[in-house]
């Protein structure tokens, strides 16, 4: 990869694109439920009732990312806010369709998260903006999901272009309307680009989160324009090599591999193509276990937990003589976690269900999905069902003891003397519980369960 970037100017320009689904989870739901269009919708994580996705209308009502449901539930009555339980199985399957359609439009496609995909156009002649528009149209027609496309000479610029494409469409006046939905930063003159950078907050740049943003702002760097004019060596010294690379990428110098790149806020993906094809179940299990445990490690490193895991493995689509098999699945975890045992356990169990003998698998990947800061989530003590970390009996023993203690206390001091913390907080003062079930408001799994397919009125 370094080799290629060192000579990028000699051998012809590579243009990157970042394509993503707008409000992916909400859009996946709306595909099968057109009555949800135009309405404020939130998708709630199944274990702790946080808003992990919001429609534009819900954002306009002021619902914040990861905001607990109990804080916004009043909007259900006052503004028609609709809450849906996360349907990870559906979203994962729709995501695989999305990636498959997107990848038709460029020689190289690299899925980055459940709803984002990088494309690389090297030596592709033709109007890329038109290709971007055709891609949007095709995805909307074939899958029913709206997307945004950003182009740039580096991945960081492509991601920024994607953000601009969205803002231009959603917030009239933020950027020229010509940049709506599809934005190509590589086509701008130096003046235009400078103007665009001047109108963009540094917090919108890939990899610049709240903490770094606050530090930069304290140092007087508020816009992308100011950041781009900073001295790279100083940035490296005061912050990190990664931030320096971000700066160089914003200047149009590709120098970041996806491995070094910042993890998406909502997902962490670990995947690799195999040197030689893997044909055995054990081989896939070994690879997937390694990726799952690396993903769990990244989770812990960044202080996050995940509430679902998507995994896939696939034969090589380039080896057309090979029989093709590309299974993938998204597994919701009963509890948000960064525990390697739970994540590896769930992944391996899924591989056993999906693997078929006789195929030459060329690539596998594991993705941690729906991340949030560890410790911020309500951790429901999953007292009543098997936890997924069945590797030792301790969790179950502990669970059993807790149950006993709870029962004893409730018997002695009256019903509901002791309740789950999440129940107490959610209900506020004294009213009844609010967030009861994990699957209360989940839509059907339209594409993975035959008994839950779309019903159409005849």
């Amino acid at each position: 990869m370094g080799r290629r970037y060192a000579h990028h100017q000699a051998y012809g320009v590579v243009v990157f694109a970042l394509v993503d689904a707008n409000n992916a989870y909400v859009s996946f739901e709306r595909c099968f439920r057109p009555e949800l269009r135009g309405r404020p919708i939130v998708v709630l994580s199944s274990n702790d009732g946080a808003c992990i996705a919001r429609s534009d209308e819900a954002k306009a009502l002021g619902v914040g990312m990861a905001q607990p449901w109990f804080e916004v539930r009043h909007l259900a009555r006052s503004a028609g806010l609709v809450a849906l339980s996360a349907n990870m199985e559906l979203y994962g399957e729709m995501s695989s369709r999305l990636m498959s359609v997107i990848s038709r439009f460029a020689p190289v496609a690299v899925p980055y998260s459940i709803d984002e995909c990088f494309l690389e156009f090297e030596g592709v002649s033709g109007d890329l903006v038109s290709i971007g528009r055709a891609l949007r149209e095709t995805v909307l027609r074939e899958i029913g999901v709206p997307t945004s496309v950003g182009f740039g000479p580096t991945k960081t610029l492509a991601k920024l272009a994607n953000h601009i494409a969205k803002s231009a469409a959603r917030k009239p006046g933020s950027y020229p309307t010509a940049l709506s939905h599809v934005c190509h930063l590589g086509l701008m003159s130096a003046t235009e680009l400078d103007g665009t950078f001047g109108a963009t907050d540094i917090g919108e740049v890939w990899g610049i989160g709240r903490r770094i943003s606050a530090r930069l702002q304290a140092g007087g760097v508020r816009t992308v324009r100011q950041f781009v004019r900073s001295d790279p060596a100083t940035i490296r010294r005061n912050y990190s090599v990664v931030l320096e690379k971000t700066l160089l990428e914003l200047r149009g110098i590709p120098c970041m591999t996806l491995d070094e790149a910042p993890a998406p806020r909502q997902q962490i993906m670990v995947s690799r193509s195999f040197g030689t094809a893997v044909t055995t179940l054990d081989g896939i299990i070994e690879a997937v276990s390694e990726f799952a445990s690396r993903g769990a490690e990244k989770l812990r490193q960044q202080g996050s937990v995940a509430d679902a895991v998507t995994l896939f493995f696939t034969t090589s689509p380039f080896r057309t003589k090979d029989a093709q098999h590309s299974p993938s699945v998204t597994i919701a975890l009963s509890q948000a976690t960064s525990d390697t045992r739970v994540i590896v356990g769930a992944s391996v169990a899924a591989v056993r269900r999906l693997y078929r003998p006789g195929y030459r698998y060329a690539k596998a990947g594991v993705m941690m999905v729906n991340l949030r800061p560890a410790g911020s989530e309500q951790v429901p003590l999953d007292l009543f069902s098997q936890t997924q970390s069945a590797s030792n009996g301790q969790d179950e023993v502990r669970g059993g003891r807790l149950m006993e203690a709870m029962d004893l206390l409730n018997q002695r001091f009256g019903r509901d003397a002791v309740r789950l913390g999440s129940q107490a907080v959610a209900s506020g003062a004294a009213s009844g519980h609010v967030w009861s079930g994990k699957q209360d408001r989940r839509s059907p799994r339209y594409t993975t369960r035959l008994d839950e397919i779309l019903r159409v009125r005849c």
């Binding site: 057109p34 027609r141 074939e142 397919i453 779309l454 019903r455 159409v456 009125r457 005849c458």
Partner: protein, 156 residues
């Protein structure tokens, strides 16, 4: 005329011994391996021939990424051969044409109807007595969700 046992099993070109010939002009016998392809009146040797059992996914579905499965609920399309409970294969990548059975979004609901689109008039027709058509106008434009390509009926 060939003698000796030979198998008709075909194999991919890589596994063929180079220059394997059968029944040469001189009539000399030639060793036949079980993987030698027989090049005499049994079909073109150029045929690539790994044989697979028929797979309904491959056979019935042209656009896998854009094909969804739905269940018919109601009797308004019995005249078109769709009974309540039938499974429908729906392709969103196909361009809807006059006469197609389609899923369409009408007043926020997904319904199944037959598309009529001729001479500037567009409507969605039901297929049973008493069921009314949905007129398509500028205020209520046509939105096709997908084209029904196959109807699958349970018989046992």
């Amino acid at each position: 005329m060939l003698c000796g046992a030979y198998t008709v099993r075909m194999s991919s070109p890589e596994s063929l011994p180079n220059g394997a010939q059968v029944g040469s002009a001189s009539g000399a016998s030639t060793r036949l391996s079980s993987r030698t392809r027989v090049a005499a009146g049994f079909g073109s040797p150029a045929e690539d021939a790994t044989v697979h059992r028929i797979d309904l996914n491959e056979a019935l579905i042209d656009h896998p990424d854009a094909t969804f499965i739905a269940r018919a609920d109601g009797d308004a399309m019995r005249g078109a051969g769709i009974d309540s409970g039938d499974v429908l294969l729906v392709d969103r990548a196909r361009t809807p044409m006059h006469g197609n059975l389609v899923l369409a979004v009408v007043h926020g609901e997904i319904i199944c109807r037959r598309l009529y689109s001729l001479n500037g008039q567009t409507r969605l027709d039901a297929a049973s007595i008493g069921a009314s058509s949905v007129q398509i106008t500028e205020e209520a434009p046509l939105e096709v969700w997908g084209v029904v390509t196959h109807i699958i009926k349970h018989t046992v």
